[in-house]
C-alpha cells in the first residue's frame, strides 16, 4: 500500500470522529444551524479528500506507465465546494455559512495536524 493511502486511512478515521461529534452537537445543543453547516461542509470536504486521493492514485499509475497526466482534478474539487456553498446559500435557515467554510477546511486542517504530528512524534 502506498504511504499516502495509509495517511488517507488515518485521516478518514479522524474525519469520521469529527462527523460523529458534529452529529452529537446537532442533536443535543441549540446551535443546530452551525452544526448542520459543519456537517455539510465536512461531508463535501471529505468528498474532496476522496477525489484528491483518487486523482493522486491515477497520477501515480499514469506516471509509472510513462503516460501524460492531464489534470489533478482541481476544477472538480472547486465545483464541489461551489455546490456546498450554493446549498448553504439556498437554505440559510438550516445551514450556517461560517460553519460550512470551517467544515470544508476541516479535511485540510486534519491533514496538516496529522502530518506534523507524525513528523514530530512518530518519525523522531
Amino acid at each position: 500500500m502506498p504511504d499516502f493511502r495509509v495517511l488517507y486511512n488515518r485521516e478518514r478515521k479522524w474525519m469520521f470522529y469529527l462527523l460523529s461529534i458534529y452529529v452529537l452537537g446537532w442533536g443535543f445543543t441549540s446551535f443546530q444551524t452551525v452544526f448542520l453547516g459543519l456537517i455539510l461542509g465536512t461531508c463535501f470536504g471529505f468528498l474532496n479528500l476522496w477525489l484528491l486521493v483518487r486523482k493522486t492514485e491515477k497520477f501515480d499509475k499514469l506516471v509509472s506507465q510513462g503516460k501524460k497526466v492531464t489534470s489533478l482534478g482541481s476544477l472538480s474539487r472547486m465545483a464541489t465546494a461551489g455546490i456546498a456553498a450554493v446549498i448553504a446559500l439556498r437554505y440559510p435557515e438550516y445551514f450556517d455559512m461560517i460553519g460550512l467554510v470551517i467544515g470544508l477546511m476541516t479535511s485540510y486542517i486534519v491533514i496538516m495536524i496529522d502530518y506534523f504530528y507524525h513528523v514530530v512524534h512518530v518519525q523522531k
Binding site: 502506498p2 504511504d3 499516502f4 495517511l7 488517507y8 474532496n48 479528500l49 484528491l52 486521493v53 493522486t56 497520477f59 501515480d60 506516471v63 509509472s64 497526466v69 489533478l72 482541481s74 476544477l75 474539487r77 472547486m78 465546494a81 461551489g82 456546498a84 456553498a85 450554493v86 446559500l89 455559512m97 460550512l100 467554510v101 470544508l104 477546511m105 479535511s107 485540510y108 491533514i111 496538516m112 502530518y115
Partner: protein
C-alpha cells in the same frame, strides 16, 4: 453588492484563485515527477509529499470559490 460589480468581483475571486492553484499545483507536480524520474525508489515518499502539498495549495482557492458565491448571492 449590486449587479455587475458583484459578478465582476466573483469572477475575479474565482479567476485569481484558479490561477494560484494552477501555478502551485504545476510546481508541485512538476517537481514530484522530476524526483520520481531521478529516484524511483522514493516514489512513495514523494507521492505523500505531493498529496499534502496539493491539499494545502487548494485550501485557499476553495475558500475563494465559497466567497465568490457569497458575493454573487448578495
Amino acid at each position: 453588492m449590486t449587479g455587475s460589480i458583484g459578478i465582476l468581483a466573483a469572477a475575479i475571486a474565482i479567476g485569481l484563485a484558479a490561477i494560484g492553484a494552477g501555478i502551485g499545483n504545476g510546481l508541485i507536480v512538476g517537481r514530484t515527477v522530476e524526483g520520481i524520474a531521478r529516484q524511483p525508489e522514493l516514489r512513495g515518499v514523494l507521492q505523500t509529499t505531493m498529496f499534502i502539498g496539493v491539499a494545502l495549495v487548494e485550501a485557499l482557492p476553495i475558500i475563494g470559490v465559497v466567497i465568490a458565491f457569497m458575493v454573487l448571492n448578495r
